[in-house]
């Protein structure tokens, strides 16, 4: 898994590339915790290149969503692959997360 960060205005864009699974979820967890600790409360996760996500990965995303929601920030996902989207649907995460089809749409909400 590879994390690519980019900042546009007030928003931090993190692109996840590869598999997000039990073995490497802690990398994402560590990074998100750092950002949240720095009071960054606008984060966009671009999932265009994320091939796979396990429940461990989902738990990190859920953890980040909870913390940002508590500080009235915004945590948005975009560009989910179909397979991944199905996983989100099965897990019911589509009702919890704000998910946009592409990055432009997502940036519009910030």
């Amino acid at each position: 898994m590879e994390l690519i960060e980019r900042k546009t205005g007030k928003c931090m864009i993190i692109s996840i590339k590869g598999r997000l699974d039990t073995i490497n979820y802690s990398i994402l967890e560590k990074r998100l915790t750092e950002l949240l600790d720095q009071n960054i409360d606008r984060i966009l996760i671009n999932c265009a290149q994320m091939d796979y996500v396990s429940s461990s990965g989902l738990r990190i995303l859920l953890m980040a969503l909870k913390r940002i929601t508590m500080v009235k920030g915004k945590f948005v996902l975009c560009s989910l692959q179909d397979n991944i989207r199905e996983i989100f649907e099965i897990s019911g995460f589509t009702t919890i997360f704000e998910i946009h089809p592409n990055e432009e749409d997502a940036l519009g909400v910030f």
């Binding site: 039990t22 396990s54 429940s55």
Partner: protein, 811 residues
């Protein structure tokens, strides 16, 4: 009490002893027997002693004989010399007297001649006498004058020897006394023209006083016939052919029994081989030594002889007497010939006596031998000969009698012991039957599985075991074990182990846990420190998965169709009974249709041939490999025959135990090996990558769409991580088995097994996981939710201490 089997043990070899006893049972004299040996010894000793005595006696006797012969020869010599002297003395005295008469002024020649004539007539020896004058001494006108009187036919004839032909002045009898001036005996001579016979002459010179001077005037002689001495010598004989002779100091033979030798030189008479010895003897003899010598050659009979010589006094004659030693010793030889004859006769008598006496001494021994022989053949009723004497034979008999009694007792004891042993053996036989009865037999006929097993103990009872029984309809327990040692203790230990397994193994307890407890139990009650190597396995008859635990036993073999062999070499713990706190793990193996597992004990692989080689694993595997059509029971019999054939001529050293379980090839829709994949993963999170890789490869091979593949990936990850995180809390390594099966095109089955804590994910309620708001959502439980959502079928089973999750997914 009679035990005919025992008799041959005590039988001596009858043939050797039969020779010593003839048909009447009387002992003969065997070669090398005591009688012969003693006799031989006695003969030798006797010969030696006799020879020494004989030699001494012979030498001594001969010395005495020699001494006696010397004495006798000396006596005869003295006697003969005396007789010769008696003859000679008057012959010497008369002319000496007459010569005195001739020295007077005017001698009466006539009277003197008459006296001589009278003497010649009277004396037997003297046959002639001459008075020979020097020239002109008788008469101044007469040149030579020599009147000679001689006896013939008892009358005395007188004639004058003085003639030109008979020049007496040059005759020895005249010349020598004239020169020496004394009377001399002449050498024997033949007086031609004088006496005309072989004679010796005694010549005495006589003198005349002319003008005051004593002048040699002539010689008066006495002729004696040598024949006279022949008579004397003829009486001087010793022994049979002994004889004597007389010779002059010059060695001229005067008298000799053989007339041809008379007047011959002794050197010519005596012809010997050793001239030097003869010459030296002659020299000594002629010097006038009185001596007694043994001469080899100084003889006329050419045999070794004794010679005695002595000089005759007054004369210069030598007397000799000789006789063959043979004759001297003739008596001695005769005596000794008789002695030897007596000796030989007594020797023969002694041999007979020795044989008889030793035979008599030996007879009791022979009888004892006979009795011993009969006793040896088992006839203990045979009475031993009785002796009242206190000798060694009696002692031997007593000792033997004692031995016989001891033997009878010993045999009785042995028979008792044998009976006791037979009893134990019959009890052992019962024990054998019981042990064999404990072993399960006749595996029920099934379509899917078949099993055969065998235990062939090396002794009546063995320390090996095998076992199998159904834990439930779908689970079969199989086991094989080998107790250290053999015989009754091992078999009892084996029964204990078997009972413990039967009582402890259950589907509700992991197999390794059961083994752990069984080991603990065995260790607690193991005073003899025995142990048992063991393999226990639980086979899921439905899916062919066998969980097994190998406690230090020989590795089993999985023989697959086509002859592929897989050695199940992993060992899960030490043999049972060694260490109470030993822990055990377990392994698992999946039977594919046609697979057979071969369990065996080292009695098979370490069977020893008469050449000393081990049977090994390979022949066993070859038989299993090449007989896929034989049912396990027949295969086992084939293996047993092969091992026993291999051990031909050697006692079976160890129990032979075999167990074969085979999964039969299923009818139709057979699963190919390419439709099944299995991976065993340690409980490490990092192993997830391997699992994913395996899944992706399987998905590619089986044309599983990426979406399905990803979803299965998710499911496997959730299940795997769940097991890794939560199933184990003992910090040990465990294996997680994941098996993919393409049960049909478009249907994949995944089996995940772990031996961790029991966890039935189906009982976990995840129904409301997705309906909560963000605040209500719990972290966790999501994975299981995924699993349930992403597969078509899911089942959970807790079996043999394992969590088995079986998933089916269509694609």
């Amino acid at each position: 009490m009679s035990s005919p089997v025992l008799h041959p043990t005590f039988t001596m070899e009858p043939e050797t002893n039969d020779e010593a006893v003839n048909k009447r049972g009387k002992p003969l004299l065997p070669k090398g027997g005591l009688a012969i040996r003693y006799t031989r010894f006695f003969i030798l000793a006797f010969l030696l002693v006799f020879s020494i005595a004989f030699y001494y006696t012979f030498s001594y006797t001969r010395a005495i004989l020699d001494e006696d012969a010397s004495q006798r020869a000396s006596n005869i010599t003295d006697l003969t010399i005396s007789r010769i002297s008696n003859v000679i003395r008057p012959v010497e005295q008369v002319p000496s007297t007459l010569s005195t008469a001739l020295e007077v002024e005017k001698p009466d020649y006539r009277m003197i001649l008459d006296l001589a004539k009278e003497f010649v007539l009277e004396d037997t020896v003297v046959f002639g006498s001459a008075i020979a004058f020097e020239p002109y001494m008788f008469d101044k006108k007469i040149y030579r004058h020599c009147p000679y009187v001689f006896e013939t036919r008892n009358t005395v004839i007188e004639r004058d020897l003085s003639s030109a032909e008979y020049d007496y002045f040059n005759k020895d009898w005249y010349r020598i006394p004239k020169q020496l001036g004394q009377a001399v005996w002449s050498e024997p001579y033949y007086d031609k023209g004088g006496g005309d016979t072989l004679m010796c002459t005694y010549s005495v010179p006589f003198y005349r006083h002319i003008s005051g001077k004593r002048v040699f005037a002539g010689v008066i002689t006495m002729d004696i016939s040598l024949g006279t001495f022949m008579h004397i010598l003829a009486s001087a004989r010793v022994y049979k052919t002994g004889f004597s002779y007389l010779m002059s100091s010059k060695g001229i033979m005067i008298a000799h029994p053989n007339k041809a030798y008379i007047n011959q030189d002794i050197h010519r008479v005596v012809i010997g081989e050793s001239r030097s010895q003869t010459d030296s003897a002659i020299r000594l003899m002629l010097k006038g030594n009185r001596m007694f010598v043994k001469m080899r050659d100084l003889s006329h009979v050419k045999v070794p002889s004794w010679l005695y010589t002595a000089p005759v006094p007054h004369t210069n004659w030598i007397f000799a007497i000789t006789f063959p030693t043979r004759e001297l010793y003739a008596g001695l030889y005769d005596f000794f010939y008789n002695l030897i004859a007596i000796f030989l006769i007594s020797l023969a008598a002694m041999i007979m006596l020795t044989i008889l006496i030793t035979g008599k001494f030996i007879r009791p021994i022979s009888r004892l031998v006979e009795a011993t022989h009969r006793i040896g053949q088992g006839d203990f009723g045979t009475a031993l000969p009785v002796y009242t004497s206190k000798d060694e034979i009696s002692q031997l008999t007593n000792a033997f009698s004692h031995m016989k009694d001891e033997l009878v007792n010993y045999i009785a004891n042995l028979q008792d012991a044998t009976a006791a042993r037979e009893k134990i053996e019959s009890e052992l036989s019962v024990a054998h039957d019981i042990q064999m009865g404990l072993l399960p037999k006749n595996f029920p006929a099934r379509d899917d599985w078949d099993l055969g097993a065998l235990l062939n103990p090396a002794r009546a009872v063995g320390g090996d075991l095998y076992d199998y029984y159904f834990l439930d309809d779908n689970h079969l327990f199989i086991a094989i074990g080998d107790v250290s040692g053999k015989g009754v203790p091992a078999s009892l230990f084996m029964v204990t182990a078997r009972i413990l397994f039967r009582s402890r193994v259950s589907l509700n307890v992991p197999l390794n846990q059961s083994v752990y407890e069984i080991n603990k139990e065995i260790c607690r009650e193991n005073p003899n420190q025995m142990f048992v190597t063991f393999i226990a396995g639980i086979v899921d008859l439905k899916n062919g998965c066998m969980t097994y635990c190998n406690a230090g036993h020989n590795p089993p073999f999985l023989v697959r169709p086509g002859g592929r062999i897989k050695k199940l070499g992993d060992v899960h713990g030490i043999p049972l009974g060694i260490f109470e706190h030993a822990t055990y793990t377990s392994g698992s193996v999946l039977f594919e249709p046609g697979d057979a597992i071969l369990l065996y004990t080292d009695g098979v692989t370490e069977a020893i041939s008469s050449a000393g080689s081990f049977y090994g694993e390979e022949p066993m595997l070859e038989i299993v490999r090449h007989n896929p059509d034989l049912c396990p029971a027949d295969l086992i019999n084939r293996l047993e025959d092969d091992v026993i054939g291999f051990m031909k001529g050697v006692d079976q050293a160890d129990d032979i135990t075999l167990l074969i379980l085979r999964s039969k090839a299923r009818q139709g829709g057979e699963t190919k090996s390419t439709d099944m994949k299995q991976i065993s993963l340690p409980n490490k999170l990092g192993e997830l990558n391997r699992l994913v890789a395996e899944l992706e490869q399987t998905a590619e091979e089986w044309d599983i769409p990426p979406k399905v593949s990803m979803e299965l990936n998710l499911v496997l990850e959730e299940l795997f991580t769940n097991v890794v995180f939560y199933a184990f809390d003992d910090g040990r390594d465990h294996d997680i088995l994941v098996r993919f099966t393409r049960v049909a095109p478009g249907i994949i089955q995944i089996c995940i097994e772990d031996d961790g804590k029991e966890f039935n994910l189906l009982e976990k309620d995840t129904s409301d996981t997705v309906n909560h708001t963000i605040e209500e959502r719990q972290i966790g439980g999501l994975g299981i939710h995924f699993v349930k959502k992403l597969v078509n079928e899911i089942s959970y089973e807790r079996k043999n201490g394992k969590n088995i999750v079986l998933l089916t997914r269509n694609y």
